[in-house]
Amino acid sequence: MAAEAIDYAWCYPFASRLRKLPQGQSLELATGSDVLDFPYFLHGRLLTPHLTAQQLLLVSRVAGARFYMPPSMLPAGALLADPVVTSGAGKLRFEAFSQCCGVYCRLDLLSTAIDGTFMRRGTTNVDFNRPMCDALAGIRPTDRVLLSVGRDRVELETDDQRLLERQVDLPRRWYKGFVEVQSYAAAMQPVFEVSGPIACRFLQGLAQQVPAKSEGHLVLRQNGLNVSRRPLPNSIPCGGIERLRPLHAISHHALGMRFYTCTRESVLGCEMLFPESRLLVIASPHACRGFSGEGQAISHLLRELDEKTLEELRRHLEEAEQLSFEALAAETKRPKVDLLTAVATLGSRGLIGYDLHDSAWFYRQLPFRPEQVDSMHPRLEAARALVDQGLVEVLSRSRGSLTEAYVQGSGVKHRVRELPDGYRCTCAWFTRHQGKRGPCKHILAVRLQDQDACRQ
């Protein structure tokens, strides 16, 4: 079955390029738009041009990478191989999501990496074309490189300044994965940090081939980082860790590497620390498993917040540019449950990202129109339909809460039970994933029914 796709079209006023100037070189990144309003984010001089160029190339490589390809599948044309750039909170962030939907990568260039001026805040795509990437690879440590993200005045009349149009069919799962990964990041905790040389040796030893499904446990030992096949004390689960191998290309510049893990799932976060920048990679539990469909935020979306409240919270985040959950709670004086719902909802609309290093949400509006992604959570919709059709049959309640119910499935009634460790359902989907990819539609239907009953 062909993957559901959203048609995404945008254009650039010019092709990004590295131009030779009398006083050095100028890296001109073109910002994209679908409404011919091309933002101008920054102009300045790169203080570590060689490193920044290598980092940008790495981001570009991840954006174009397919770490897992089902056997005999033909390589599809690149999806969205252009990173998404966000200017704000004194940082320039380049985000990319791999073609296989299993690896998220973000480069945070701190203000100390650039001697220049942030012109405005915002988020959009930047053109990463092949010639520019080739030129980036040639930047040397001693080169003087100016960076501009966008242009102050875009003139489209001349022949060499034609509008570059791009159009891709973005699979829904790609977009969903991109936004889903933020909810994982928010649930991650740092586990250990290693020095640059240790990180370099570790990455050097990773295999170049990425197995579809490999399980490992990352452990810090006296002789460095190792991957064990068994869970050990203080180890963190990591599937398909070979996907970190591309980081080796810049590891010799790194001051250190910090590892994060998520308690809910074996999702691995890995942050490479540089003096003036940080590079974050978040990898899904297995190479063959993308982030889409993980359904981590779906439970929070059961409650519906009115648009006014959401808009209010969105504005808070937009004004502050970056806010921790606690700061957001303190500023808005809203209950935690409302904030969880708001953050999940805004996240699923691609309006916020999570900065692991600062433990804070940052505002960025992904350059996709939400109406293009009409239904981000089909499971939730299916659950609502089950409730609307009266297909949930309550069997027992305990202290006002629903504990057992039948929900009509295809040809059979599924039994949903609430147990101390969560809900269980007898459907095949739940059996397969055991709740690791969020609740099934039957469980969601029962919870919705319960919620409605409580309200009444």
Binding site: C200, Q204, Q208, R230, S251, H252, H253, V412, A428, T431
Partner: protein, 919 residues
């Protein structure tokens, strides 16, 4: 009559006739032809196969193996019907004719048709190409189109040498082949994949030699392809092409900046090429410091030794010529210390020393970041200020000794506590392993690890879970056990609650195609819920016959909905307790498969007891249980124990060697079905409790070897590791009390340690470390293992040493045991493998870590006998020159304390498992 020609073509499934007919006749308005074609096509679509079609249509000339619909779809296409499913694959020789026909249908029709063709650009390559040449469509830009050319579709379809085809088509030379350098392909279609079949490299080189394609452009294209970040094995193809083109010194010089840039690609094969090319360039043209500072950092951090060495050589040369930025260059050398090979680190350190780098505070500061990564032998060569703080601090043993003294007397004796404490008091080394035979097993409660299912909900959930993961054999056992206990207690709501499970089991049973454990399990579930035993096809694979037989016995029992006891269900530790088995056996009658399983679960761990069965029936719980099984009328069996002397027969020679599974036992259980005997002894692991069967696997890859063992060694290793990692074997198998280090433990460790797979060898390092830590493995064991394997050349030293190094990193006890193990093995290795330097390097490191010298004369003798200028000889000299360090005494006390600590841990684990009942 023209239509007669078409009928004739249809009658004989003749594509040529069909196409020629439509080329000659424009039948778009011919009602008779329309009727014939569309009626036949419709009929063909309704028939499932050629035989059915022939019966329905009266056509006789079609092969029953062909697709009977295709010729009619082609005819429909000729008449202008657009069908997205119609493929042009294999019709390349008719390209011109099909174009002629297509042109009649107009541009819009062709555009739509091309859209369909582009769904499968590879198969339809030739037609798209023809359409493009005839101006009927634009040049396809899909990657797949170029992959079609890459895969040689035109050559296959047109039955013409590909090179000739390309020469005849300038458009391919001008455009298409250059796209090869931009498209990576995949596992099925890529230049690397088709190199053997087509030989694109030779074709391109030949065309370049003849001047048909531009050599300079070709060299540039290979470089661009190398920059694209393709996967390493596909990138290698471009690297090889670049080298086969043999750039001249001038060309290399012109490409210098590209090579410098390639060094930063992060791909080892590309970096190898670039560094080698720069080495060539340097011969005629000095490289500047700035060049090297830009290009070499990644090469120095590469995993490939050659890259690091070449980079060091370039730096050396540059430093010799009095380069600028000297300190930066020297600091950069430290990057080579990321490599884990001591010889590489040695080279880097020598280079630093040669250029007086230790005078520079900048370099020293940089070097300080890497000291933890250096091999111990290299650390010893560092300037004194940089030597990492010694780990050899006096162990705090007071608290440990106090806890050890609290161990009851009988346990103190079993654990050899007294000599260990004496050694600790006198500051000497004590690494003797435990005599596991003297130590009682952990007395976990029955079912402690087995975790029996508690209630009907658990049972239903578990059944559903097993349907998703049929390799979880233990879960199946828990289900079978629970079915026997309370499966019959079915409430009023049972049928409704079980309905989703029944639906899933029925679906699963219908959809299973492969050999699997699932059909019989589904049969159990269906029988249990519906009360009727479904029929299950006989498995083709004899491996599963015993499982099938047992499942069907259970299915029949659950269908009766009566409680029952299953003799063979495992209990704690995945094993069957003899006492419990005896109890179960007294509770009823059992079928042969159930009894066979119970014997298998019980027997592998106690060979001596089984040997005595017939002489001393009833002499103990285990013996009694076995005797009861044997006396059962349904059981015909033989049991024998092999102390194996393996024999491998190669063409022209036969080798005998002492079996490294000398302590292993092989039980042949032959219940009624005689062919099971073969199954057990020739199968890959089919059952969690019979890992030794692995050793008797067959030889698909080495049919010339008549006996099992060496030839299938790697496969056996993989199978063993696979068994372990997929949870069929559990860690407790490594620690059975009745055999030293347990047969399966030896097996697992040895097979993993010498396996070809890096990941599995890493795991072996962990096993080795754990086994030493808790007294299961001593120096003797390590010595025997190394001597056996190295002597037979079963494993290379390079392969073994990383695991040993990983194990040694765990602590002083491991260092001491492994050091003594290697020293003991040295005289036993008769012919030294070529890569013995790896083992010697490891020994050198262990000696430095432990601060001791080679104090065994046989080992000294062996080392002194290694002459010459080889790396091994240099290492042997270095090892003999190691002097006793001042921290030796502290190290030995640490090792002894670690051994004592392991013993204490063993006792405490036993005590906690015993639940305070005492023993």
């Amino acid at each position: 009559m023209p239509i007669a020609q078409l009928r004739d073509a249809f009658e004989h499934d003749c594509y040529v006739g069909c196409i020629n007919f439509f080329v000659a006749h424009d039948c778009r308005d011919d009602g008779e032809v329309h009727a014939l074609v569309f009626e036949r096509a419709e009929l063909a679509r309704r028939c499932r196969n050629a035989t059915q079609f022939m019966e329905a249509s009266g056509v006789r000339g079609i092969s029953e193996y062909t697709d009977h619909r295709r010729i009619y779809e082609l005819a429909e296409w000729c008449l202008g019907r657009l069908n997205a499913r119609t493929s042009a694959a294999g019709l390349g020789i008719f390209a011109q004719q099909l174009c002629t026909i297509a042109k009649r249908h107009g541009d819009a029709w062709i555009r739509t048709w091309c859209g369909y063709l582009r769904v499968d650009c590879i198969e339809n390559w030739w037609l798209l190409h023809r359409f493009y040449l005839d101006g009927l469509c634009e040049r396809p830009d899909d990657d797949a189109y170029y992959l079609g050319l890459m895969a040689g579709v035109p050559g296959t379809d047109l039955q013409m040498p590909l090179e000739q085809f390309i020469r005849q088509h300038p458009d391919l030379l001008e455009h298409d082949i250059w796209r090869f350098f931009e498209i990576e392909g995949n596992d099925v279609y890529s230049l690397a994949k088709y190199e053997g079949e087509i030989g694109w490299r030779d074709i391109l080189v030949q065309l370049s030699r003849e001047g048909i394609i531009d050599r300079k452009a070709l060299l540039g294209a290979t470089i661009q392809a190398m920059q694209r970040g393709f996967s390493p094995h596909r990138t290698r193809w471009y690297c090889k092409l670049h080298e086969v083109l043999a750039p001249t010194p001038d060309e290399r010089l012109a490409l210098k900046d590209d090579y410098l840039q390639l060094c930063n690609t992060g791909s080892d094969p590309v970096v190898s090429l670039a560094v080698q090319a720069l080495t060539t360039v340097r011969k005629n043209h000095e490289l500047s410091s700035a060049d090297l500072l830009y290009a070499l950092p990644f090469a120095l951090g590469s995993k490939v030794k050659g890259n690091v060495r070449a980079a060091l050589s370039l730096l050396d040369r540059c430093l010799q010529t009095g380069a600028e930025q000297r300190e930066e260059l020297l600091s950069m050398i430290c990057g080579a210390f990321c490599h884990d090979a001591a010889d590489v680190q040695q080279s880097a350190l020598a280079l630093l020393r040669r250029h007086n780098a230790f005078d520079s505070p900048v370099v020293l500061a940089r070097l300080a970041q890497y000291t933890d990564l250096l091999a111990p032998a290299i650390q010893a060569e560092l300037p004194r200020t940089l030597v990492p703080a010694s780990h050899a601090s006096e162990p705090d043993v007071a608290a440990l000794v106090e806890r050890v003294r609290a161990i009851p007397g009988d346990w103190q004796e079993r654990l050899d506590i007294a000599p260990c404490l004496d050694a600790l008091a006198s500051g000497t080394l004590w690494t003797k392993p435990l005599d596991l035979r003297r130590i009682p097993p952990r007395a976990d409660e029955a079912y402690a690890d087995f975790a029996p299912l508690r209630n009907m909900d658990d049972l239903l959930d578990s059944c559903q879970l097993y349907l998703r993961d049929p390799l979880d054999i233990l879960l199946a056992e828990r289900i079978f056990e629970a079915l026997g206990r309370f499966g019959h207690e079915q409430s009023e709501t049972f049928r409704q609650h079980a309905a989703p499970l029944l639906q899933q089991a029925e679906r699963a049973l219908r959809s299973i195609e492969d050999v699997s454990l699932l059909p019989e399990f589904c049969a159990v579930v269906i029988s249990w819920i519906s009360g009727e035993v479904p029929s299950v096809a006989d498995p083709m694979d004899t491996l599963h016959k015993l499982w099938v037989q047992r499942c069907m016995e259970i299915a029949e029992r659950v269908a009766r909905r009566q409680p029952f006891v299953l003799a063979s269900t495992p209990t704690h530790g995945h094993r069957l307790s003899p006492a419990l088995l005896r109890k179960r056996l007294s509770q009823g009658t059992f079928a042969a498969a159930d009894l066979a399983f119970s014997l298998l679960r019980l027997a592998p761990y106690d060979a001596s007891v089984i040997n005595q069965v017939q002489q001393q029936p009833g002499a103990g719980e285990q013996l009694d249980a076995i005797a009861r099984i044997l006396r059962h009328p349904g059981m015909v069996w033989t049991a024998s124990v092999y102390l194996k002397r393996e024999q491998a027969t190669y063409p022209g020679r036969t080798e005998l060697w002492d079996s490294w599974t000398a302590a292993d036992t092989v039980i042949e259980v032959v219940p009624e079905l005689d062919d099971l005997r073969t199954s057990f002894l020739s199968s890959t692991p089919w059952h969690p409790e019979t890992p030794f069967c692995l050793f008797h696997t067959s030889f698909p890859l080495h049919p010339e070897i008549r006996h099992v063992a060496i030839g299938n060694y790697a496969a056996a290793c993989h199978a063993a590791a696979d068994a372990f990692f997929s949870r069929r074997l559990r860690p407790e198998h490594l620690d059975h009390p009745d055999l030293p280090f347990g047969p399966s433990g030896w097996f697992m460790l040895a097979t993993c340690l010498f396996c070809v797979d890096d990941v599995i060898r890493d795991f072996a390092g962990e096993l080795l470390s754990d086994a030493i830590a808790d007294g299961r493995l001593g120096a003797d064991g390590v010595e025997w293992m190394l001597a056996t394997y190295c002597r037979n050349g079963l494993a290379t030293c390079k392969r073994i040493t990383p695991s040993i190094e990983a194990a040694a990193a765990a602590g002083p006890l491991q260092v001491a045991v492994l050091r003594d193990g290697i020293l003991g093995a040295l005289p036993r290795i008769e012919s030294w493998p070529r890569d013995s330097f790896a083992l010697l390097q490891c020994l050198h490191d262990l000696l430095v870590l432990s601060g001791s010298t080679v104090d065994r004369q046989p080992a000294r003798h062996v080392l002194a006998g290694i002459k010459g200028s080889s790396k091994a000889a240099r290492l042997a000299m270095a090892i003999l020159a190691v002097e006793t360090s001042r921290h030796k005494a502290v190290f030995e006390r640490q090792a002894t304390a670690a051994a004592l600590s392991g013993r204490l841990r063993r006792y405490e684990e036993w005590r906690s498992s015993d639940g305070g009942r005492g023993n």
